[in-house]
Symmetry: C2
Subunit: 416 residues, 2 copies
């Protein structure tokens, strides 16, 4: 199509999506499953503005995200503002602000849009929506177990089989214990090691091991604390390592007692954010065509202290609409599109309009969703329009119907 | 409370809102009424990103808004981006982009957040949510009548009486006819006149009339085309004035035939946006304590041509959450807050946890929304937490319940 260059483009901004009704129906389907399952676990919905003071992200969000991937600008009043890149700092800010008035444990969820300035690619856009479910005030592993069970139940509610996905868990507490007690690293070394681990899958193996050796001052002996490991008994004799590993084992066992068997310990699960303090988990698609991390979360018991109050036990996860949509498409789990509108009323001529309007209002009073076609075009064209909009039923109102005060509801043939 | 200055603030960004669960419940209530009514008229939901190329607003949004009130910034890739100040240019862009594939008439709605850089005050925040309902492809007054009826039905669905609000309508076509045929203004004069009219209520009367005289070169003779007007017959003899006025009268008559009587012609209704071409309407709160414009809309048949294609008849309106919430509060029409969570399960000791988890899952399978209190604190404190969260029911599970496999559901006294 030749376009006049002085015309305004119909393209959206780069890396974001337009949601036509058939796209929004998919999003609404995903959101409705999310809402249903998290509310069944007693989660209450909250929200906040997409605009946040930039300072909010400077303390605990990963360095890479803040420096290279946020939308940050200065407003007309000289304030530094950021389009939120994630929701956790916001929910922590809100909870910290009213800690005295709120009842605990508090289970909160939201489905915000979040922004990252990234090169758009499959599964990674500049804006996506994300379920955030966080529970505050439970120090014990009950929160870890319930949250992972909640994530599992969401996958099941989408119709996924246990074979479609797997849950991998690890513990920052365990990692830190290994860093401290086994490798005897100082804080800087530990942080550098953790960052390397976070990048492990993107690095060639020999580069990873070389870099790790530089950081810890000797070759890597082990990371995976398994019975197969020759150093297992020696490591487990160290009290902090032992405690953290037994806690992780107990979480896996508790999940298995709820019938969740596709869960296992994986030493490679790190999660990018600096604020995690305990259990971390990630859910992976097992399909070779889409074999990637779908979502994850973890425990962050110290984040609230950045606001100057006491810390508060917290456990949460975020689940993005783009990755979950890819998953549902890969496994053919998305319902097909039907309009929310039930019936289109086609009017044959202007003199039939009054009866058509009356029928529309009667059907609406009866709970039906009804659109009236006021184009007065040939009925065949009006039905074609209903088909284009995926409206399942139509009614034709002409002189005869108006006189007799009757009408028939007919099905729109969707494939004509 | 004394705060360490190095701590991060818990305040949101200036002029935007945090939605705690009880605030979001109000918003969800408003959104649910909007959705229910517009869907009953066959509207389909769409959405788009809050980020739009700045060019989109340069053609037809009001000058004041674009130059002084938008959030516009340059992204890391040197693109000029705006946080949408209104939704109409976006929906026009999306419809224009797929005009050939869509079925018409197309009825679309969305509930986007929109941004304006304004000094925050009552009813005016920097971010608000807004129902946008637009119908495309109906050239006749059927669209005008149906849309105003839809707006009326939304007010009624909120529980408003006809005496709580009034609908005022005018016509840009009529105004333009008066400008052209009666005052014989050129395009610049007409535009200057229209901008003055838009500011009329903010100007002292003598300033308004003085400015108008400067623009039109003589004293203002009339604006209100009523029978009381001495120039009425003379003006109605002019064909373009006559046609536009009869069309407006017909819309009022059609609305009355649907039982909508709180609607009348008002020459002062202008609407700020430059893109309106025909009927415009505004809904006012009649309460002296909140006597302001609640929302409005109108016909904009030429907006789609800014994208280089043909124009397309269009009629729509926007209804903001802040003003409608003020209205509902003024008239005491808001429901009181209850948590979405039905039941809190209070556990007396860790040995009762396993039965408590079982009860929770059984109740969830039965459609109940259940939160489990894993604090193991005294039961009285757990019930206090349920009260703070406005959860209506609780269950206590201890040794006895675990042994006998029974439990009682009790009501939380919300005022203890």
């Amino acid at each position: 199509m030749v376009k006049n260059t002085s015309n305004i483009s119909t393209e959206p901004y780069k890396g974001v999506r337009d949601f036509y009704p058939e796209d929004l129906a998919v999003q609404n389907y995903i959101f409705s499953i999310w809402k249903k399952v998290v509310e069944s676990f007693g989660y209450n919905e909250y929200n906040a503005s997409v605009l946040e003071p930039s300072d909010l992200y400077k303390a605990k969000t990963s360095e890479e995200i803040v420096n290279e991937q946020t939308y940050t600008f200065t407003d007309r009043g000289d304030r530094e503002v950021t389009l939120r890149p994630e929701m956790t700092p916001t929910v922590a800010r809100m909870i910290a602000s009213r800690k005295r008035e709120l009842g605990f444990p508090a289970r909160w969820y939201s489905i915000p849009n979040v922004f990252r300035y990234e090169r758009p690619q499959r599964g990674r856009l500049r804006e996506h929506w994300q379920l955030n479910a966080d529970v505050f005030g439970i120090a014990g592993t009950e929160a870890d177990v319930e949250t992972i069970k909640l994530a599992y139940n969401i996958m099941k509610a989408f119709g996924a089989d246990d074979s479609h996905f797997e849950i991998k868990i690890n513990s920052r507490k365990l990692l830190n214990a290994i860093f401290n007690s086994w490798y005897e690293l100082d804080e800087n070394q530990a942080q550098a090691f953790q960052r390397l681990l976070d990048k492990k899958s993107k690095l060639p193996e020999e580069v990873f091991y070389g870099e790790v050796e530089k950081v810890i001052g000797k070759p890597l002996e082990f990371l995976n604390l398994s019975h197969q490991n020759p150093t297992y008994e020696q490591a487990m004799a160290m009290p902090d390592i032992r405690e953290a590993k037994l806690e992780l084992d107990s979480i896996v066992e508790q999940l298995k007692s709820f019938g969740i068997s596709n869960v296992s310990y994986d030493e490679n699960i790190i999660r990018g954010f600096d604020y995690y303090t305990g259990t971390v988990f990630e859910v992976f698609d097992t399909d070779p065509a889409n074999n990637r991390s779908l979502f994850g979360g973890g425990r962050y018991d110290n984040l609230l202290s950045i606001f100057g109050g006491e810390s508060l036990p917290a456990f949460g996860f975020g689940m993005g609409d783009v990755t979950i949509r890819d998953f549902l498409e890969t496994h053919e789990l998305l319902p097909s599109y039907v309009s929310t509108t039930d019936i289109m009323i086609c009017i044959m001529d202007e003199s039939s309009r009054s009866y058509a309007d009356k029928v529309a209002d009667e059907l609406r009073a009866d709970g039906k969703k009804v659109s009236v076609n006021y184009s007065y075009r040939p009925v065949v064209d009006q039905i074609k329009s209903a088909r284009k909009q995926s409206i399942p039923y139509f009614i034709v109102i002409g002189e005869e119907e108006s006189l007799k005060k009757t009408y028939d509801i007919k099905q729109v043939n969707q494939h004509e």
